[in-house]
């Protein structure tokens, strides 16, 4: 569908980019992205996807919003306390743009419900806060053949990598599952840290939807906020990966 005059103004800065332009903006408006976890990473990721005009956004989170979340989960407000995170985030995104279609999943992603949910989306953002969910997303995206952006944070440190299942190194290639605690120790993080990583995830989603640039595949980006140092660690697909290996 061609853009309306309103949309031409709203997305004027995108239209000025040769990599996006009108055609790219139309693609974004027709795209569907799923944000799994609407907390520290999911807040900026969902916010920027909505602002960019990604036409359909799924929000998945089973938690209610708590006072201590305000330090970093910026899509929510003080009035969100006690509400379901997906509801609170949806209200904020609708304030940003009523035209964005939202689907809310106020429950955990499970092996059972993941296939039907993932089938509806072009790109998945892993913005979850525990290893169990991260490995589950890696498995579910592999099974569904959906590209995803992994990110994880702790204290002052974060990491992110984009995965095209079956084609590039996956989360399970790099991180072994055995003996890893299901939940991450709630150490920090400093509030702006998920802002950096979640924003990179939004950029990766947009690049993937538009098929522009070089995706962050076969490379793990690490970010050390204390040293203010980013590193790119190249990783090859592991032929012995229990998930995507070719044995």
């Amino acid at each position: 569908m061609p853009l309306t005059d309103q949309q031409r103004q709203r997305y004027g800065r995108h239209l000025a980019l040769p990599e996006i332009g009108e055609k790219g903006q139309e693609k974004l408006l027709q795209a569907r992205a799923l944000v799994v976890g609407v907390g520290g990473l999911g807040s900026p990721a969902a916010f920027y996807l909505a602002a960019a005009g990604v036409g359909h956004i799924g929000l998945r989170d089973g938690d209610a919003f708590e006072l201590s979340n305000l330090q970093r989960q910026i899509v929510h407000t003080t009035g969100s306390i006690g509400r379901q995170k997906v509801e609170s985030a949806a209200d904020r995104l609708r304030e940003l743009d009523r035209a964005i279609e939202l689907t809310l999943y106020p429950f955990r992603l499970t092996e059972a419900n993941a296939p039907d949910i993932l089938a509806l989306y072009d790109f998945v953002i892993d913005a979850t806060d525990n290893f169990e969910s991260k490995f589950l997303i890696a498995r579910a995206c592999h099974a569904a053949g959906k590209p995803y952006s992994h990110a994880g944070i702790r204290q002052f440190y974060g990491q992110t990598m984009t995965v095209h299942p079956g084609k590039t190194a996956c989360y399970r290639c790099v991180f072994h599952e055995d003996g890893v605690p299901a939940t991450a120790a709630p150490a920090g993080p400093i509030g702006a840290l998920p802002g950096v990583l979640g924003s990179i995830q939004a950029i990766e989603a947009i690049k993937c939807i538009l098929a522009i640039g070089i995706p962050l595949v076969n490379r793990l980006l690490t970010f050390d906020a204390l040293a203010m140092e980013t590193r790119i660690v190249s990783v090859r697909r592991d032929p012995l990966c229990p998930l995507c290996g070719r044995r």
């Binding site: 806060d129 290893f131 003996g179 939940t183 991450a184 709630p186 920090g188 592991d238």
Partner: protein, 67 residues
């Protein structure tokens, strides 16, 4: 002695060091980290046998599960 790049910085090690020796040097447990040597993942079960060579690029990546 051999010199490797550990997370981008020079690290000197005795000859015939294996990946697990790095954890001793670093005083780390070696649990909940991924190890990448020259872009190839070294899984936990291979860390006691994987010999490091002079000039290896070694990355020890902490698991970060927060969100």
């Amino acid at each position: 002695m051999i010199t490797i790049k550990l997370n981008g910085k020079d690290q000197t090690l005795p000859d015939a060091s294996v990946v697990n020796d790095l954890f001793l040097i670093l005083g780390a447990e070696g649990k909940n980290v991924a190890v990448v040597v020259n872009e190839t993942i070294v899984r936990p079960e291979n860390r006691s046998s994987h010999r490091l060579q002079d000039g290896d690029q070694v990355e020890i990546l902490a698991f970060a599960g927060g969100g």
